[in-house]
């Protein structure tokens, strides 16, 4: 691993941002060698260790954005400034920014669902100078993330409490007619990403999706995070259309902590004891 940490390095929480009802960001003063789409493992000594994307990133700081889901994330929400978390990584392969996006000749679309937005912010910031559409979705207004972070962001809520009612994918057809995307980046519920992938396939657009699987080692050896022969921690978490096309598990199956293979739906509902 280049320039990252093999073992957790304890870092003091420098600032905490309340992002929404059930989401907080934790900021650290540290220069991390991070590429958009990669993830870090966050260690809570005596409790657990979990993967998170980096959602704030600068030369001398970075931050993670944490949605309360179970024990660990709940514990993190109880932490205060000055307390320490252990960070190892970054790990995995991130998003690729193609030449035609870099030089502005192509258009990109970024679609985030729920706390999947946390995996897309650093990407969005590195695309900013280019012609990029940003779509975000949430179940309801109070769980929307980063809605004020970007000028041009199109919002969707399941209940219509803010932005358009519906899913970000609903708008894709029209937006693509207008902008003719060469690439669509996405992170969010796998069912959403799978719709995005299908859309891209139909319209021959390059797609990159950041997957989530239960992780243990984070370094590509234990096989816990497998998705059809790919290790999400090492080969991913970002996969492109070609890779996604070969994954019949994508959008369908995931392993629980025991290694049991269950539907994505059951996986989402599962919580750790």
């Amino acid at each position: 691993m280049s320039n990252g940490f093999d073992q957790p390095v304890m870092m003091k929480i420098d600032k905490i941002i309340n992002e929404s009802d059930d989401t907080k960001s934790f900021m650290f003063r540290h220069n991390l060698d991070y590429k958009p789409g990669q993830f870090i493992m966050v260690w809570l000594p005596g409790i657990d260790e979990k993967p998170f994307a980096v959602s704030y990133y600068g030369d001398d700081f970075f931050g993670i954005t944490v949605l309360v889901r179970g024990k660990s994330t709940k514990y993190m929400h109880s932490m205060g400034v000055g307390e320490q978390l252990g960070i190892r990584g970054p790990f995995g392969h991130g998003f690729s920014i193609t030449d035609n996006i870099k030089d502005g000749s192509g258009n990109a679309c970024v679609i985030g669902g729920g706390c999947g937005m946390a995996s897309l912010t650093v990407l969005i910031e590195s695309l900013q100078d280019n012609n990029t559409t940003i779509l975000t979705g949430a179940t309801t207004k109070t769980t929307l993330l980063f809605k004020n972070r970007y000028k041009d962001i199109t919002i969707f809520t399941d209940d219509g409490s803010e932005g358009s009612k519906g899913y970000p994918t609903d708008a894709l057809e029209d937006l693509h007619k207008e902008n003719s995307y060469s690439i669509i980046y996405t992170c969010g519920p796998e069912i959403m990403m799978s719709k995005v992938y299908e859309f891209c396939k139909k319209h021959n657009i390059q797609c990159e999706a950041s997957l989530e699987r239960y992780m243990k080692c984070g370094i590509g050896i234990c096989g816990q995070c497998v998705c059809d022969g790919q290790m999400v921690c090492k080969d991913g978490p970002v996969f492109d259309s070609q890779a996604l096309g070969k994954m019949s598990d994508f959008g369908n199956y995931s392993l629980l902590k025991s290694g049991q293979k269950v539907s994505i739906n059951d996986y989402g509902k599962w919580k750790e004891a």
Binding site: D6, Q7, P8, V9, M10, M41, W43, P45, G46, I47, D48, E49, K50, Q84, G86, M215, K216, C217, I219, G220, I221, C222, G223, Q224, V226, D228, G229, Q230, M231, D249, L255, L256, K257, S258, G259, Q260, K261, A273
Partner: protein, 306 residues
């Protein structure tokens, strides 16, 4: 000079080369076994399976250090039934697949072996040697000649498949254990499991890093000890040895073979050199063998004893 022949016959099963994926690495799904086969392994072992599902220890479960890995995964596995389901039609995987079976009592092993009997595994491995999971391996007293004999004899009656017994490097008189396994009907010895356990403490956190506090040591740190174990076992038994521990280059593989191994396991090396380490090691072995006039693996097995 002709290219050296890397194929081996391991207890009646033909392997295209002597590299074997050891248990606990990537062996969670059939799709990963296929990937491992594509990466050049000669055979692969699935993650150890107990009768009931186990979640294992909490994270962190694996942590690298300067000389290898420390792990206490805690035998997480979906249980025998689920495992049998995942690993059906193993003929889809182009290389032989070994089932690693764990239990607390001899009867547990047999129940798992029964469940897996229709899956098409090429061999059954019994790791009687985990240093960090209560109820299993060393922590269940499985590191003695008596319990080795008990368990192997029971499994021997339950299957016609070759039985590999996996031993712990912690046992000083490892030759005696290997002999007990051989006498009870084992067809090969896998040597070795992880060493220790060891502990790594993060001094800022003032806490051991692994959630289970201690874990088994694999990788470079283990290699000289694994080599010595294989050397000792080679003097104690006639059955083949799958030498495992810290191998990450063709030279390491040949060293282990010269100590007495018929095949070699490559686990932690995957972290160091990537999943295609299997084909890398094979190419390196071929090159060295050509330069040093060896035609096949057998010619090298155990020659450090001469």
């Amino acid at each position: 000079m002709t290219t050296p022949n890397l194929t081996i016959d391991l207890c009646g099963t033909k392997l295209s080369n002597p590299t074997v994926l050891p248990s606990g690495f990537l062996g969670t799904s059939k799709s990963l076994l296929k990937r491992v086969a594509d990466s050049g392994a000669g055979a692969a072992t699935i993650k150890s399976v107990s009768f009931e599902a186990r979640e294992g220890h909490k994270n962190p479960t694996v942590i690298p250090f300067e000389a290898g890995l420390l792990n206490a995964v805690g035998y997480s596995n979906p249980g025998a039934e689920e495992t049998a389901r995942e690993f059906t039609n193993l003929e889809d995987v182009s290389i032989p697949v070994i089932a690693s079976v764990i239990g607390t009592e001899a009867g547990d092993f047999v129940r798992v072996v029964d469940k897996l009997s229709a899956s098409g595994f090429s061999a059954i491995e019994l790791p009687l040697s985990c240093p960090h999971t209560p109820g299993f391996g060393l922590l269940a007293g499985q590191g003695t000649p008596e319990s080795t004999k008990d368990i192997v004899s029971a499994v021997r009656k339950a299957t016609k498949l070759p039985i590999f017994v996996k031993l712990s490097p912690n046992i000083l008189e490892i030759g005696n254990l290997a002999k007990a396994a051989e006498d009870a009907g084992a067809n090969a010895i896998t040597a070795v499991n992880t060493l220790g356990p060891g502990m790594i403490i993060n001094i800022e956190a003032r806490n051991p890093v692994l959630s289970y506090r201690v874990g088994g040591v694999s990788g470079q740190a283990l290699r000289p000890i694994a080599t010595r174990c294989v050397y000792d076992i080679y003097e104690a038994v006639k059955i083949p040895i799958i030498g495992t521990g810290g191998i990450s280059t063709g030279r390491h593989a040949i060293e282990m073979i010269m100590a007495g191994a018929a095949a070699i396991g490559v686990g932690t090396g995957i972290y160091e050199r990537g999943i295609d380490i299997f084909s890398k090691i094979c190419r390196e072995m071929e090159t060295w063998m050509s330069e040093n006039n060896f035609n096949n693996i057998n010619e090298m097995t155990g020659i450090a004893h001469e």
